[in-house]
Symmetry: C2
Subunit: 241 residues, 2 copies
Amino acid sequence: MEQAKIRLYVDQPVAAGQPVAVGEGQANYLFNVMRLAPGAPVALFNGHDGEWLARVEQAGKRAGILRAEAQVAPLRPPPDLWLLFAPIKKARTDFVVEKAVELGVARILPVLTRRTQGDRIRQDKMRAHAIEAAEQCGATVVPEVAEAQPLDRLLASWPTGRRILWADEGLAGTAATFAGLPPGPWAILIGPEGGFTPEERASLQALPQIVAASLGPRILRAETAAVAAITLWQAHLGDWK
Amino acid sequence: MEQAKIRLYVDQPVAAGQPVAVGEGQANYLFNVMRLAPGAPVALFNGHDGEWLARVEQAGKRAGILRAEAQVAPLRPPPDLWLLFAPIKKARTDFVVEKAVELGVARILPVLTRRTQGDRIRQDKMRAHAIEAAEQCGATVVPEVAEAQPLDRLLASWPTGRRILWADEGLAGTAATFAGLPPGPWAILIGPEGGFTPEERASLQALPQIVAASLGPRILRAETAAVAAITLWQAHLGDWK
């Protein structure tokens, strides 16, 4: 079967013969930047229906229509892993979102801590970044990007059955901890640059769902810790096995 | 003991009572940017003598002198792991170097492949980036950054006893492969964006030192693959255990 070079996330149902409208941003990308003409193949996914081969039917400057032909890959949802992280500088936050999507998480939850500068958190940008990463890495689902919320409020209503892996150099635990983690719903918690305050640490340690693990003897930046922790979780409990 | 907030790499011997001269770049950083005055503590490391507490003795605009007082941490060399990677876009190359230092490798070897744009490879910049990362992550050794060389030439004289872990989606292998790797000298090989050519793949596969592993079902960018592969190696064979 013909291989589409472009993968596109659409927020619409996709089924055989279904026309799929694309708006200004995607039309510009497909028809102006990539110069796709009618008949050109495009791969579509919407997070529910797997991956589809579609073709350009109408190519306009500001809008267009694609028509879905056939499903070419099933839905492959990421494992039930959440990433909680305190947004950092812009470029590094983009990076965390991109890498979380590539490595495979189900939800991305920006959290506000005492030492987080929350005024620059833009959920819409993070969401756009997650979509772009999913398009590039072959994912058929875009992880949900939640609205930023204070960590203490999030923890106050934390689901009983979801464990939290906290990679914190101040806690006991080694990377070997990952090998012994029980399956089930998990979240990975990455602290802010500058760390949690003593009060935040105390309330985290008091949570029964917390499991501590170490990521080695050197000091990892927040975004490195996120990638390393997701990697080890994926290799032991996720879909990398 | 007083804790220095600034860690500085110096390319000079360090011993108790030893004066250590700093040149223009470091003097500017220490005395203009950070405004350190005589008597202020600085942590020094040179890759050989561990970490030392030193104090500012002379603070000039273009040069200065620090005096080493006492060793505060032993030398902690990274494990014997090399990273071979084909340099990519500038920001992402910087990122690979930074992350390799944080995660802990002994040598970084930029390699030229058929699909590598080698004209933008700047060993001096990569080296400066490695030093900066080591200063920030608490490393006492700066990984060596080798001069870029063609992959085929590098492989032609490859050390017999050093295995190469190749995270390649085209090869069999799973992330579980990492758990079974034998100890000893290793290198991790990350291909260029766009992948290796069929000829390059054939010569890699013919190498007896090659071990294939997978990094999951999604397509990882080169820099993500580098971080994920070093992480898994460190957790199984390195100093994260």
